[in-house]
């Protein structure tokens, strides 16, 4: 049944394939062919799969989202773009899944850093890409990854040479402008040893139904330090699948901040493989209103000793929204002295809101420190009284506390401009009588 529906996409594929990037590369063509045959056989993931049990994507199969073959820049809402584009950053804009040179700002980028559209990179550096594409997702193949591998039409390649410290962040801004469009992008980020960089992925779109299917592979070299932010503000009719798959070398540090605010149905994977003494920090904030369904799936794989991982995901769910957190921490037999902590906190603001949370520790080593904690609940009455005793009325106190719950995650953002933009998005989603932005 699912195969039959998914085959709408496979049926359309022959018309799409000839215009996809990397036509001349036989290794890529082979990858795509394998992915297509996997997707033809399995389709999109179904709730029967354990890692998808809370999320049903059959609505995507009932529709047909098709890739844009060209970009119409005249239709671009510059104000919208500006409201998300960071001022003090290099920014790359992808419109309907395709790199737009016109809107991207890359002046002054150091020579040791290359930022190329994926289609450009496949032409200019095919050998390099061959080393990376599909390497971080190797063990994670599910329907969306196969789909992305077969369908991606563009994306981005960022390569930071060894010891380079990027002075400004790089922002990758995805903008969907058309109804029923499919934006399938593949992004590869490589930070060579001892390099440092902050990268921001932003997903926005006009008020349409569309499908974003973005896969990002990150390779953090030995002793390198990469911070990746994701601000997902898709339209409230949109479907979003975003997978971030990370390979950390020895002593590498990777920090991820996931702000999952938009989309009718959104699913985010963050999976990291850690080497000897790697450090991984995953932070997340998901806000759901109306009938939004927001699913976050994290997996931290400690493969070698002395790794450290910290994870904190918070959810605020109102109306009939549903939030999902599935977090897996795997400690391999060889990964002694692993230090891992995972927490998920959910705040339910309405009786119809739902949070599904499933933390999993799989420990095969015997000398480790691992913990996890989960809460699902309402606002703390003691805190409400404390604020009331400080002159704040009950409703304002509730708003302040809801905001504060979310703001803890926003405050972790180290880039001022991004901090302010994310804050704005939080305030827009929960109109806060009594939360005075000027005072923050």
């Amino acid at each position: 049944m699912i195969t039959a529906l998914a085959s709408r996409y496979t049926a359309e594929y022959p018309t799409i394939a000839p215009v996809l990037c990397g036509q001349s590369l036989s290794w890529l063509q082979q990858l795509r062919a394998e992915a297509l045959s996997q997707f033809s056989a399995q389709g999109f993931p179904s709730p029967r799969e354990e890692e998808w049990r809370y999320t049903n994507v059959s609505a995507i199969e009932k529709k047909l989202f098709s890739p844009a073959t060209s970009i119409a820049t005249s239709a671009i809402d510059k104000e919208l773009l500006k409201s998300y584009q960071l001022k003090d950053a290099w920014s790359v804009v992808l419109i309907d899944g395709h790199f737009s040179a016109e809107f991207s700002v890359l002046e002054g980028l150091p020579e040791a850093v290359s930022v190329l559209s994926m289609s450009d990179a496949l032409e200019k550096q095919p050998e390099t890409l061959e080393k990376y594409i599909n390497q971080a997702v190797n063990n994670d193949k599910h329907g969306f990854i196969a789909f992305n591998t077969a369908w991606f039409g563009d994306g981005l390649f960022i390569h930071i040479d060894a010891k380079q410290v990027l002075e400004k962040p790089v922002q990758i801004l995805h903008l969907a402008t058309r109804a029923d469009v499919l934006t399938a992008t593949r992004t590869v980020i490589v930070a060579d040893q001892m390099a440092e960089a902050s990268i921001i992925e932003t997903f926005v779109g006009l008020d349409n139904a569309y499908l974003s299917a973005a896969v990002t592979e990150v390779f953090v070299g030995a002793n390198a330090d990469v911070t990746l932010y994701k601000l997902q503000c898709e339209s409230e009719k949109a479907y979003h699948f975003g997978g971030t798959y990370v390979q950390q070398a020895r002593d590498a540090r990777f920090t991820h901040h996931n702000f999952a605010f938009g989309g009718l149905l959104a699913r985010c994977d963050i999976h990291a493989d850690l080497d000897h003494a790697s450090e991984c920090e995953l932070n997340g904030l998901y806000l759901g209103v109306k009938r939004q369904h927001i699913d976050n799936h994290t997996r931290i794989n400690h493969l070698k000793p002395h790794g450290i991982s910290r994870e904190l995901y918070k959810g605020v769910l109102d109306d009939r929204a549903r939030g999902v957190f599935q977090g897996r921490v795997i400690v391999a037999e060889d990964a002694q002295k692993t230090d891992s902590q995972m927490n998920n906190r959910n705040l339910l603001l309405s009786n119809d809101a739902e949070a599904d949370t499933k933390p999993q520790l799989e420990i095969y080593a015997d000398d480790v420190k691992c913990g996890h904690g989960v809460t699902v609940g309402q606002l703390d009455e003691k805190s409400i009284f404390y604020l009331q005793s400080r002159c704040v009325d009950e409703e304002t106190a509730r708003n302040m506390l809801t905001f504060a719950f979310a703001n803890e995650m926003v405050d972790k953002i180290k880039i001022k401009d991004l901090h302010d933009k994310v804050l704005e998005q939080v305030l827009v989603r929960f109109p806060q009588e009594g939360v005075n932005k000027e005072w923050l």
């Binding site: 703390d380 009455e381 003691k382 805190s383 009284f385 404390y386 604020l387 009331q388 005793s389 400080r390 002159c391 704040v392 009325d393 009950e394 304002t396 302040m400 506390l401 905001f403 504060a404 719950f405 979310a406 703001n407 803890e408 405050d411 009594g434 005075n436 005072w439 923050l440």
Partner: protein
């Protein structure tokens, strides 16, 4: 300023306060002492409006108004301030934000415009020096990760900025080392004035070495069993609460 008459308070079916009578005038400092479980904290909670208590009889009149009928935030805006025994941590709300929200709520309540941002900073910075706190505290989340002493100082800082009429200090000395106790006491003393009253709920006498009360009341089993001057606290320190309970039993 505050007149409590025959106040009876229960939690569920259990009577905690069994007929409290207390008159507090502006400018006075009253200490309420008593053994654990005597109802001291219940008294401070009921005056500040915490939920979970039932008033079964009696009244509390504050500046001519029925205090018990007001929601907690109205009491606070009218000038009642509770310094908590266990100040609550509120991650995500900065100290300075809460101070501004509180001060402006009071001003709005009295028909005054919002405080000017510069005036506010000057005011806050002056008070923070008084309490020997670092200015960085202003930008940290309310009480989050503060030590016991820092939390208590922060309560007094809020009190200094909001300038309440009736200050209720609930076990403010608990968990304080001697240096922090001195700083907190100096903060309280600097706020003493002829138009402000203090109610200090405390188990031990030591806070009263630094803040000299005009009156001391001993609460036992939900009633005030003895009232006197500052010397009563010293007598209690020497003889222990059992002395009073014994004399009460004898009576």
């Amino acid at each position: 300023m505050l007149s409590i008459k025959n106040l009876h308070v229960s939690v569920g079916d259990k009577p905690i306060l069994k007929g409290i009578n207390l008159e507090i005038k502006a400018g006075e400092i009253h200490a309420i002492m008593g053994p654990n479980g005597s109802g001291k904290s219940t008294l401070s909670h009921i005056l500040s409006g915490k939920s979970g208590y039932t008033v079964t009889a009696g009244t509390a009149t504050y500046q001519g108004k029925d205090l018990l009928a007001m929601p907690p935030e109205i009491r606070a805006r009218e000038g009642v301030f509770l310094a908590f025994q266990y100040p609550v941590e509120i991650p995500g709300v900065s100290n300075i934000y809460l101070l501004k929200a509180a001060l402006n709520s009071i001003r709005k309540h009295h028909g005054q415009p919002e405080v000017d941002a510069m005036d506010f900073l000057t005011l806050v910075k002056g008070k923070i020096r008084l309490l020997e706190m670092d200015e960085k505290f202003l930008y940290r989340a309310v009480n989050e990760g503060f030590s016991g002493g820092e939390k208590k100082r922060n309560e007094i800082l809020q009190m200094a900025i909001l300038e309440p009429k009736l200050c209720i200090l609930d076990e403010t000395d608990s968990g304080l080392d001697i240096d922090a106790l001195k700083v907190v006491a100096e903060g309280v003393n600097s706020l003493r004035s002829t138009d402000r009253a203090f109610v200090m709920v405390t188990h031990y006498q030591r806070l009263l070495d630094y803040i000299k009360p005009d009156f001391v009341h001993v609460l036992a089993q939900g009633k005030i069993v003895k009232s006197g001057g500052a010397e009563l606290a010293l007598e209690l320190e020497e003889k222990g609460y059992s002395w009073l309970e014994d004399t009460q039993a004898a009576a």
